[in-house]
Point group: C2
DNA sequence: CGATCGTTTGACGGTGCTCAATCACCGTGG
DNA sequence: CCACGGTGATTGAGCACCGTCAAACGATCG
């Protein structure tokens, strides 16, 4: 018996998702110039000749918030590159707990880790309206051969993806919840800066629950950690709007590796700072 | 002022490691046929013609236990593929805490995540005698162009590497220390099986301290978790020799995602099993 | 304006971190 | 041969942090 779920099926309460072969039909069929994808991936494209678009086109899909772009366990026939918006990469355990393993924003690859397998290891669900380039796995090899720029861009993108995975691990490793949250915020701010947005005023695209899952803590604890950092004068928090008031203080919180909570590190940093201000005044 | 460290410098007590330009000299210069690397990476090599080795040779380095193959912060001029032995990928924080971010065994890439940057994000230290293929970054592009098999193998290897990174995150995410350890052991056993070794009798190549760092817990807690799983009849533990006595029980422990410790899941699994044995007897 | 979902805060209990002592193992040197 | 220090593993005691349960508040949308 094969169970089919529509791609907008509310993500999986303990159910195993199988083969949404009809998925593609649900995404608006659309195309974008390959050129656009390449510049997104940060590769200088050789101007070649005068011919404007010898590189061809790439299918572009649109995903609605809450909609699944990729189903965990589905056959791997496409990998994706995020063009706009953001998605979460998730794995659902048998008891229904949804583990968020990564966030994907503009320029990030989705599903690439499944390329070496038959089935997707993680699902991908949109956090907001998003558009993604869809690369058919069968065509990837041909595209790489035909377009060296794409080939090089893909390799660099995987390298970046691997580096990002390491940073996720660095967010999960420390004991203190405040430290985890601080590291997440610094990481998130850096990503915003890379994309030309403000690294001070952040708009989190996910509910506390998802953030908590990514950090490996309870969502109440995330809330408390936000309150703590706000109370310490490091952040201003209004729901999902976060302003980094004191970047140095936040960085101090990221540095407490194991022992002690962020409070001590923060106090030390602030003490050092107030001392220098006193000297200045 | 530029500080130079010999590559066998005991790994970094809070010191920043800079530019070991002399590193290469310390590794035994040696070469292996490219063919060997390709089969390691799991790619069927086309037999081409009768010419035995048109693919050329790859430099092979030897690393001693405790020796650093890659220094955190060093310039990226090589990436590596492990041929034998195993290494840990580490980041050292300012307070001297050493965060283990990954383990690299036969077939794993090292340093690839730094390919998109100027400097290595993580260091790599051998856990035992190891040999690695060394790929000069400058030559990687040429190698890929010259040898499509290598090109394809590299892409698949990065995909596998990315999948492994996700599994590390799954080991770090659960609250319970026993769950983390159980997931690590299952993951480790799978790797052993892939390499044709016994998935029941494991020889951990690292001290408790490193394992604890990888799992994001205190090393005493790792010890306690081992004792717990041994007491529950799931493992037999003798120092770094671990035997998986009850694989189903161990799997049950990996499944407790957030709430509750592994004890409840284990009891439930064992209860179910004893019930079925009663029926059988 | 009511319903639902998300966020915040409180109280309580449990898990794991810290500090500390003990033990096993190993290579060295008396 | 055994004493010796060094490293790594184990176990215990005490306490802090976080997970769970619960309630209240706020936002969003119909």
């Amino acid at each position: 018996m094969t169970i089919l779920y529509a791609p907008d099926f509310p993500h999986a309460e303990g159910a195993t998702l199988i083969e949404p072969q009809l998925a593609h039909a649900a995404f608006a069929p659309c195309r974008a110039p390959m050129q656009e994808l390449l510049t997104l991936l940060g590769v200088r494209v050789p101007v070649d000749d005068g011919s404007s678009e010898p590189l061809g086109w790439v299918p572009l899909w649109r995903v609605r918030p809450g909609q699944a772009l990729v189903h965990e366990g589905a056959a791997v026939d496409h990998i994706h590159v995020v063009r706009s918006g953001s998605l979460k990469c998730v794995r659902v355990w048998e008891d229904g707990y949804e583990q968020v393993l990564a966030l994907a924003g503009r320029g990030d690859l989705i599903g690439f880790e499944s390329l070496s397998r038959a089935r997707h290891l993680t699902g991908a669900v949109a956090l907001e309206d998003a558009t993604v380039y869809a690369l058919a796995v069968r065509e990837v090899e041909a595209m790489r051969r035909r377009c060296p720029s794409f080939d090089r861009a893909l390799l660099l993108a995987t390298s970046r993806q691997l580096a990002a995975a390491g940073q996720i691990a660095e967010m999960l490793a420390p004991v203190s919840a405040e430290t985890r949250l601080a590291r997440f915020l610094v990481w998130y701010a850096e990503r915003m800066a890379e994309r030309g947005e403000s690294p001070r005023r952040l708009r989190l695209r996910m509910p506390r629950r998802d953030l908590a899952s990514l950090l490996g803590v309870a969502h109440e604890t995330v809330s408390r950690s936000f309150s703590f950092l706000a109370g310490a004068g490091v952040l201003r928090v209004d729901n999902r709007e976060v302003e980094i008031v004191d970047r140095d203080g936040l960085l101090a919180c990221t540095r407490s590796t194991r022992t002690g909570n962020a409070e001590s590190a923060l106090r030390a940093a602030q003490a050092g700072r107030s001392a220098s201000t006193e000297v200045a005044s």
